[in-house]
Subunit: 441 residues, 2 copies
């Protein structure tokens, strides 16, 4: 196996031969064999071990084992202890996800601080096959069937073409010791079931299963490249504006496609949508129709679909006392509001207003507009419902919901960034002018 590993590195991962790398080491057979192979090839590497403290003494014994291994191999070793359960609880992750995040975050940190070029993990061909089968069994799309990438940014998996059998044989031949992982998570249970009960039958049917599987993965990855290139090109045509909050998709671009659903799925899948027929139906729906995922929503607005995040109520209103209102700035989702005294009115605009300070009742309030709000549009006689104003301005549902107002004793002073109120305007009787300016963050 050493020779095959060497020529694999030379042909597919030659950059590893001239890099400084970290090997992510659990103490299990795969990562230990990887460390031994790298030692044999004189790679410039250190070990990094995560103690997730999930299996009491066993976790600690693993740590000791890794420290001993580092000494045997005469390489540097880093060990980090994590309170995985606390992290999982705090961030609402599964234990599996928590361990994964902690591990990769720490590796990334190590790599950056200590100038390592790559992080090596010991995933092998059977892992890859098992992952494929797990994803398939649960239901998936092309992306769940393209396998673990050999290189993904600075994470490299040099054992990926090798089978578990080859790794075990190498460990045996070279009398390499390792630690068995006794954990029995549901994920591992699943993996073991596939490993011991399904894969042997498939290998019985096709003794070259791992080779065939590699070919399948190669084809599927090529296909995924076609899909990505194609979806990118549709996105380039369809996405007309993309600000921090919203993405606008031109409906007409999807109507030109033979299967709009396929592209909508590729573009929106990552935002957690599941009701794809509803998403497709939005293309022909009336303005205002929307579809939700757990984190996002998609709204039809005239010739557009608008994707935005469901806001986690950072829409709390803000009150400002008279003392606070001078020379202050207030952050709201729309941007930053600057309050200031002014000598005279100049450069009035949608985003800058001047009001007669003596007409204000403090504290002022900044809040999202609500049904029933009425104001006196600047320059007009009489009043108007805010809802009517927003409709006449042809704002989308999302834009409407993001509309803030500045009020004084619940009278609207300004529809922020849009229209000032007639009642508070500066006149020739005005003694103190307050300037309010909205700047985007």
């Amino acid at each position: 196996m050493l020779e095959n590993f060497k020529s694999h590195l030379q042909q597919k991962l030659p950059f590893l031969l001239e890099s400084k790398v970290i090997i992510a080491i659990s103490g299990g057979i795969d990562s230990v064999v990887l460390a031994h192979l790298c030692k044999k090839l004189n790679l410039d590497f250190s070990l990094a071990h995560c103690n997730f403290n999930l299996r009491d003494e066993e976790s600690d014994a693993d740590e000791v084992f890794v420290l001993d291994l580092a000494e045997d191999l005469d390489v540097e070793v880093f060990v980090q202890n994590f309170d995985t359960e606390a992290y999982a609880k705090d961030f609402k992750r599964s234990i599996q996800m928590a361990a994964r995040e902690l591990r990769y975050n720490w590796f990334a940190e190590l790599a950056e601080q200590l100038k390592f070029d790559y992080i090596l993990t010991a995933h092998h061909a059977d892992d890859n096959l098992e992952t494929f089968l797990i994803n398939f069994t649960r239901g998936t799309g092309l992306n769940g069937l393209t396998g673990i990438p050999m290189k993904n940014e600075n994470i490299v998996r040099p054992l990926l073409p090798f089978s578990r059998q080859e790794i075990e044989a190498y460990a045996k031949e070279n009398q390499i010791k390792w630690r068995e992982d006794s954990s029995n998570s549901s994920r591992k249970y699943l993996r073991n079931k596939l490993r011991h009960e399904v894969v042997p039958i498939l290998k019985d049917i096709n003794p070259q299963l791992l080779d065939s599987f590699q070919n399948t993965l190669d084809h599927l990855n090529d296909t995924a490249d076609i899909v990505a290139e194609s979806v990118d090109s549709v996105a380039n045509e369809a996405i007309v504006s993309l600000d921090e909050d919203d993405v606008f998709f031109k409906v007409s671009e999807f109507k030109n496609l033979k299967n709009p659903k396929a592209y909508l799925f590729e573009l929106l899948n990552e935002f957690g949508f599941t009701e794809w027929n509803d998403v497709v139906n939005l293309l022909d729906a009336q303005s205002g129709k929307q579809v939700f995922s757990s984190t996002h929503r998609l709204v039809k607005h005239r010739d557009y679909l608008i994707l935005s995040e469901k806001k986690s109520k950072t829409t709390k209103s803000v009150t400002l006392s008279e003392a606070e209102v001078i020379n202050s700035k207030v952050k709201i989702p729309l941007g930053i509001l600057f309050f200031d005294e002014a000598d005279a009115v100049k450069e009035k605009s949608n985003t800058t207003i001047y009001v007669d300070k003596d007409k204000l009742n403090f504290p002022l309030e900044l809040r999202i507009w609500k049904e029933g709000d009425v104001f006196h549009p600047l320059g007009m006689n009489g009043k108007k419902k805010v809802s009517k104003y927003l409709k006449d301005e042809k704002l989308s549902l999302i834009e409407k919901e993001k509309t803030w107002v500045l009020t004084s004793n619940n009278d609207i002073v300004w529809i922020v960034g849009k229209r000032a109120d007639e009642r508070f305007k500066v006149t020739n009787k005005t003694e103190q002018i307050l300037k309010v300016e909205l700047a985007n963050p």
Copy 2:
């Protein structure tokens, strides 16, 4: 199940309710249940049974069973006997392939002659899953993972969403009888192994496996639509000429793509190529480089890749006696040659020549040119190697190999369709003129 089947037809296959259909019936549980269901729903159907004569008395007993079933259901039945083994031998097919071709050819014939709208087959969800796993185990690409289509031209598979379990339960509840298929082909062995040993474990891991699988298939079929649309659009740009024999692909179009191999695979896979790296390397290869599949070849020629069939030597030469040469036509792969007397020379062209008949030595021969051939190009002094002439004409390797010559006593009279020979031209001493014209078929 009857209710589910009914609403499935109403929602997904409503056209079947108003069509005249054939049910392909083996006598096995799936097709027999399909026939019973169609009877219950009053569909306008007939049965069609193929007796492949592969299992002696058993095949005949199946036939009798189907005839009885038709009587019970009070529907029309067609039975056809095939000598499957002879067909397989004659056409070099596996027994499986032979049976498949015979079956579908006969169904197509029946449908056309007797004005049936659709042919129904009884494939179900478990068949679909097993096919996926068979393809996966052997190694495949996206197309091997998108499942059996519910409707493919006039073949419709109305049981596709239903599981084997549902079908068995329906047969039991309704005391439906069927014939067990005792055949044990390797294909069936494989299927049984997956059915009895692999699928139960996957269903144990995910009890909703068939539903998840259907979602996976839906996603993969959408993805396949993206790929097809994208590959079509590349093909439209890249294919510059497409005659009966050759397809010319513009190399530059592939160079614009991020992953040319992926597109070449999609475009050329059906022609049996396997060495995809060699195919990709052709893009940068010298003119004349080629890659072969068992049936086709791909040649680099200047800015093009030219795909053509490897000809099954229909390149046998033809000889023509003096008697045969007047008023005759001769078919060669290039087209049809018309030989005729003429009073005078008119409309000379690449495809029409006039020669002095008295200068010819019979029999004439029509054959592919060969190395060493020399001719006297019309209008030139002296002679020229045919190989040099073809090179100077900048013909591709494929065009060169398709070049035919008409010879007299092994002297070239005409490089067919390209250039006549000076020695045989009509002069003022000519008494008999022979006109030869090449017409494309």
